[in-house]
């Protein structure tokens, strides 16, 4: 790598992810395959970052947050505080400390297992693919390497909040359509937990469970996210009712608001 290469790469680093390099940089890239590859990686990283989905709070988020705060406040008032703990007999205090330590270890182990499970929230239509260098042909969307492992566990039910029969609440999820997330990438740290599936009833109660075939083709589009950024996303292959498809809007019913 020459000094010129170093200087060019510094310029590439400073340029906006979405912009194509121009001028001196473009001239250098045309003659330097190494720097060209570097620029492609830079652009690919930009596309990846741009494809990250915003997290949307469910409609009742505020209500739940307040309820939880109120609950925790009440619980705190009822507790006797740390001072009372110090007054406990030594064997009892030791047992309590041991229990806390065991709990911490269990939580750590569980988190480790979860982070190694390779489950990433992916829209049903999206596939996990290795990042492609710019200029290389993308893998065909023929469904041959579908997302079926993530598949139904990760069906995106945007904003849906439901209760399990046991009363355990599931967390609302957003449609998660970044299909370039791969293991080992930093973006995994920001990925959400697998999208929840509405499980309202035990099977067989409300009628048959039927299987609906989905199409393998995934449509990738760039959209303006109305915050001045352009994101590239894969549209989900399936939606229920009027779930959001892309960024800000739902399906628009026939009587679009404000137009008569």
């Amino acid at each position: 790598m020459t000094d010129e290469c170093k200087a060019i790469r510094l310029q590439i680093d400073e340029v906006d992810f979405r912009r194509q390099p121009g001028g001196v940089v473009a001239g250098h890239l045309s003659s330097c395959p190494d720097c060209r590859a570097y620029a492609r990686e830079h652009l690919a990283l930009g596309s990846l970052l741009a494809s990250l989905e915003p997290v949307t709070a469910p409609p009742d988020f505020d209500f739940r947050l307040r309820a939880r705060l109120a609950r925790e406040k009440g619980a705190a008032q009822e507790s006797r505080g740390f001072g009372s703990f110090l007054k406990l007999p030594v064997p009892l205090a030791a047992t309590a400390v041991l229990l806390i330590l065991v709990s911490v270890v269990l939580v750590l182990v569980r988190n480790t297992i979860r982070s190694n499970s390779g489950v990433i929230a992916v829209a049903p239509g999206a596939r996990e693919t290795k990042p492609q260098p710019i200029g290389a042909a993308a893998p065909a969307d023929d469904g041959s390497t579908g997302n079926t492992t993530a598949g139904l566990k990760n069906v995106a039910v945007n904003g849906a909040v439901d209760e399990m029969p046991s009363g355990v609440r599931r967390r609302p999820q957003v449609i998660h359509a970044a299909n370039k997330r791969t293991e080992g990438l930093a973006t995994r740290e920001f990925s959400l937990s697998p999208a929840a599936v509405i499980v309202n009833q035990p099977p067989g109660v409300a009628g048959s469970v039927v299987r609906v075939p989905l199409d393998a083709q995934v449509l990738r589009i760039s959209i303006d996210d109305e915050r001045g950024d352009i994101r590239t996303i894969s549209l989900p292959r399936v939606s229920f009712g009027s779930q959001r498809l892309a960024a800000s809007q739902s399906f628009v019913p026939v009587s679009a608001r404000g137009v008569w």
Partner: protein, 513 residues
Amino acid sequence: MAASTAAQTVPAKKRPAQEAVIVERQTAAPQVITVVHRISGLKMLRLLMKSGEGLRAVDTLDDPFALTGRVHTNIIAGLRLDDGQTVAVWLPEAEVESEAITVAFPPLEPRAPLKPGEPDALTVVRGTEETLGRSMLARPDISVIERDGRRREARYVGLDGLTGLSVLELSEKDARRVSADSTEVFVGERMHLFAPEPVQESNVAAGNSISVRIGEIDGRVAGIVRSESGEVRRIRVKSMKLAPANVGGIAVNDAGQTVGIIQSIEGGEASVLTAAVIRAAAKRVLERQKSVPRPWLGVSGEPVALTSLAEIMSKGWENRRATSLLEKQRGILLSAIVPGSPAAQAALQAGDVILKVNDSEVKSTDDFSQLLTEAVGRPVRFGIVRANTDTVKSVVVQLSEWREGLLFPKYVADPASPRDRAVYQLAEHGIQSVPVRFASNPTATNGLLVVEVLPASAAFVAGLRPGDVIEAIDEQRISTLSSGDFRLSRSKYVLKVLRGKERLAFTVTENSR
């Protein structure tokens, strides 16, 4: 979550007496079925444009013409009516299916012989309204799944523009009885909202498919919206568990009677179209055997209650009068008038505020839509106030049928971008397009994918069709448009197009028709 087999899983004390007639193990609400609607890539792009998404480009297509293939499946509830054959369903995306039916196709003139040096237009399209409509948009791909898992073929009859409901006709008549409609609804009444939902099963993830069943959530009637004649127009149902996935769901009362279809969900409340409204919509569509257009006024606007003082003043209102208008919280402030529309013919202007429709006060967009719907087929009298007058003026307008036009790109063309200017100017010529990048060269815009062509446009007559990729306009290649002032000729221009693996050229002469 409440269970669906009413007699079996719901404590008897919570059910009214009439529940006793429900046979044990009978599926609750058998009138609720699953409707599967598959959408092609092109229709999806149109839908995104209509939805107001800031669609900027179609990225890295392996094959641009796979866009005619299916890319999305919407799963939603359907309501089987008691004739055993008709299904009413709220398909939010159905408008992309029905447009070609409602657009008036002009008769095509025989094409003039090519002049020397003129590029060949390889495709000359001739045909009737019907065949052209079919060529633009393939038949809707809709199937129906009964509660027992049986799949039924369904024909898409049309869209009722007044309500937004779609009507399907099953290929076979189902003789099974469905519950009667609910005739009385009261605030506080418990509702069961049924809609398809994905099922989490351990063994279900194999293959490109998803497991689905009809799910149920509970709600309570929070309000009833009546017309002036006392008829129930809509019912508001409140539930903490509502989500966009519940739109289109069927509301059923404790007795299993149909109450209506969820039209929209906002702020934890579902707006439910009543069974009577649904029946009327189905009747309208079945009688015509095609879509029923909605009334068209040709304006855009918003309720005064939702506007700001600055916005009203920007329409020419003086501060004191604008403040007074805002305080009253009434009326619809018009922001634009479509040239040649019924509103334009009645001399309505941007900045006018419509306070009344046939003596009924207008406060919200829902009010306005409903009043216009009720006025179908007869002249409508608006009470309006203007920026420069204090008196309420009466204006009579004859509404026409809804006419679809192109939606201009949501993002305002970047003045520095010739590509954006090309997209915008093509839209002015009746061609809706979106930049497309092919997988072979994902960093560059390779062309403009035609998403829609107005059948009345010269480009349509010349042979341009949705799915074509415009590679060059008047010898200017889209991929190399980088500087200079791109301007599309008003009278004549040549489009070089990629269609499948063929390269075609169309000479578009604006005054040729």
